[in-house]
């Protein structure tokens, strides 16, 4: 169980002091500017959930993850993970969680993966039996065996993230924080990571909070989405709910026999493609498909083919960001 109450983080960024002895003056009287990275957010995550935490770069995602992990001390509000305050009960808290940053490895760079896993075993005081069981299990699921004796610096990105995931789960934590775990990983490796995360959630009941920019991650992994923008939460709920609330836009793609006609209707966006196709974007609450089609038919050019799509989640999220949260 994870709860954030009115949680906020303000960064004080030291500004370099210009002029003579600038470096020294900045030591004596440092000058700061403040940046509000997380601004009073509230949420609560139950055991066993997989929650997607999304937002643009700089929206406050990583800052939140770092406060939940105990790396950062919140400026205001409260965060509790399994009843513990992460930065205060640091050691006890760390036994309950596993953390993976897609951008940087938590493993030791110059030694084989297995050495890193062994030292983590010591640090977390994992029993031999548990360690062996997890090692076997993860070797199967993540195919660690093929690179476990290689130093981390020689691994591909996909292998490295797999190694990091195994490392984060060696001590059987109940909660997993993943900060952009699939970033930069190729499609096949991504799919494998997703399968693994689902498996860990299903078989071990691990609660997962993950940040991602990858909308396929969202569609395949997540039962609940929290959208953050400029430090505040814009949406917290199911993916379907997100679509219904923001994703009312439909995308109609028409292929004509002959000249592509111009369609002019209020609140309808059109885009002519190079090969004579026309893309029409409209709000399904303002127009029915039939209304749009009858307008086009009046223009006389025969329609050869039509494709109508839901806005995909990526489009939905783009809309939210652009609106800056004003629910439509």
């Amino acid at each position: 169980m994870i709860t954030a109450k009115n949680l906020s983080k303000v960064y004080r960024i030291a500004q370099p002091v210009e002029g003579r002895f600038g470096a020294l003056r900045s030591l004596v009287r440092p000058q700061y500017i403040e940046r509000r990275a997380v601004d009073g957010i509230n949420f609560s995550i139950e055991d066993g959930e997989i929650v997607g935490y999304i937002g643009q770069n700089g929206a406050g995602k990583s800052t939140t993850i770092k406060m939940l992990s105990g790396i950062l001390v919140p400026t205001g509000g409260e965060v509790r993970v399994n009843g513990l305050i992460p930065h205060k009960d640091r050691k006890a808290h760390l036994h309950n969680i596993g953390v993976v940053f897609g951008q940087k490895s938590s493993l030791w760079w110059d030694v084989p993966v297995i050495d890193s896993l062994r030292i983590l075993k010591e640090m977390y005081r994992v029993e031999d039996k548990v360690f062996q069981k997890n090692l076997d299990g993860f070797s199967d699921l993540l195919d660690l065996g093929s690179f476990i004796n290689q130093p981390v610096r020689q691994l591909s990105l996909g292998q490295r993230v797999r190694a990091d995931l195994a490392a984060a789960l060696m001590h059987d934590p109940g909660i997993l924080f993943l900060d952009e775990p699939t970033i930069g990983v190729d499609v096949v490796a991504k799919e494998r990571l997703r399968q693994f995360i689902l498996e860990v959630n299903r078989e071990r009941g691990v609660t997962v909070l993950l940040t991602t920019h990858d909308m396929v991650d969202m569609e395949k992994l997540v039962n609940r989405v929290i959208v953050i923008n400029a430090g505040t939460i814009l949406y917290d709920g199911s993916i379907q709910g997100l679509r219904e609330r923001y994703g009312r836009q439909r995308r109609m793609e028409l292929q004509f026999d002959g000249q592509c006609p111009a369609l002019v209707l209020p609140d309808v966006k059109t885009e002519k493609m190079r090969d004579g196709r026309l893309v029409v974007l409209f709000d399904r609450n303002s127009y029915t498909v039939d209304e749009i089609l009858s307008h086009i038919r009046q223009m006389g050019t025969p329609i050869r083919d039509i494709v109508i799509q839901n806005a995909d989640i990526e489009q939905v999220v783009r809309d939210i960001y652009q609106e800056g949260g004003r629910a439509v």
Partner: protein
């Protein structure tokens, strides 16, 4: 009490494992390992030549004979090598904060300090240790000094205290990077200071400098005060010379407080 003892033993064990692993990582680059060792020996040779040139030209420096000076320099080198072999990483805190790797130390249920220092071992520093002992022994025979058991015990205590003092000063400087973007400027000021105290008795400098290296950046407790007393110099009262273990303890206390505050203040890198 028993719990604390267990915790202490646990950390010692982890430290050992970390060092073993670090060493394995280093030995992966064997060529680099030998090259560094050779270059350190050469560098030290150059230092000794420089010292002998200096001491030949000024037979006595502020009342210190060549032998005294060798002991002064040797003690500095031994204490310094404790820092450079085992605590070298403390000078890299700023870098680790910038690159974001510092986060990782806060994600494992073991003291971040221990993880930091366990992550690097600068074996080339061992040459400094040996060279330092060489200098002390040569110095003693040149000066014709006879040390009894009492002197040797104090010598060991001085060396250890000196090690703690360097480690703490460098550590405190690094901790500044929790508050400000750059600690580098302070680091180079420190270098300028110890470059003077490592080879020369501080009595040849002005009063302001002596106050600086005694009370503010107490590097004089690394070698000057201990060597004064051990070599029977009249430069400083005995009680002041023997204060170096106390200075070490006080600095260690300050460093531990500042470190804790720093961790609370830690902002990681970026959002």
């Amino acid at each position: 009490m028993k719990n604390q003892m267990d915790e202490f033993k646990f950390h010692i064990k982890i430290y050992g494992s970390l060092l073993k692993m670090t060493m394995r990582g280093i030995l992966q680059y064997r060529a680099d390992f030998w090259m560094s060792l050779v270059s350190v020996v050469l560098l030290n040779g150059a230092n000794i030549v420089q010292l002998s040139v200096i001491t030949w030209r000024f037979h006595a420096l502020g009342g210190w004979s060549v032998g005294d000076l060798l002991v002064l320099y040797g003690m500095f080198m031994i204490s310094w090598s404790i820092f450079s072999i085992f605590f070298h990483k403390l000078a890299k805190i700023e870098e680790e904060i910038w690159s974001g790797t510092f986060d990782m130390y806060l994600l494992r249920p073991v003291s971040p300090f221990l993880q930091l220092v366990g992550g690097d071992i600068n074996y080339t520093g061992l040459c400094d240790t040996l060279m330092g002992f060489g200098l002390v022994i040569t110095g003693l025979s040149l000066a014709g000094a006879e040390w009894g058991l009492w002197h040797i015990l104090w010598f060991c205590l001085f060396i250890l205290s000196g090690g703690v003092i360097v480690v703490c000063i460098r550590f405190l400087i690094s901790c500044v990077s929790f508050w400000t973007t750059k600690a580098g400027a302070l680091g180079s000021i420190f270098t300028q200071i110890y470059l003077l105290t490592q080879k020369y008795p501080i009595t040849i400098f002005g009063r302001a400098f002596r106050v600086l290296v005694t009370g503010i950046v107490p590097v004089a407790f690394l070698n000057f005060y201990p060597a004064s007393w051990l070599m029977g110099k009249p430069d400083a009262p005995a009680w002041l010379c023997m204060l170096s273990p106390v200075v070490a303890l006080v600095l260690a206390g300050i460093a531990s407080l500042v470190w804790r505050q720093g961790l609370r203040r830690y902002d990681s890198s970026g959002g």
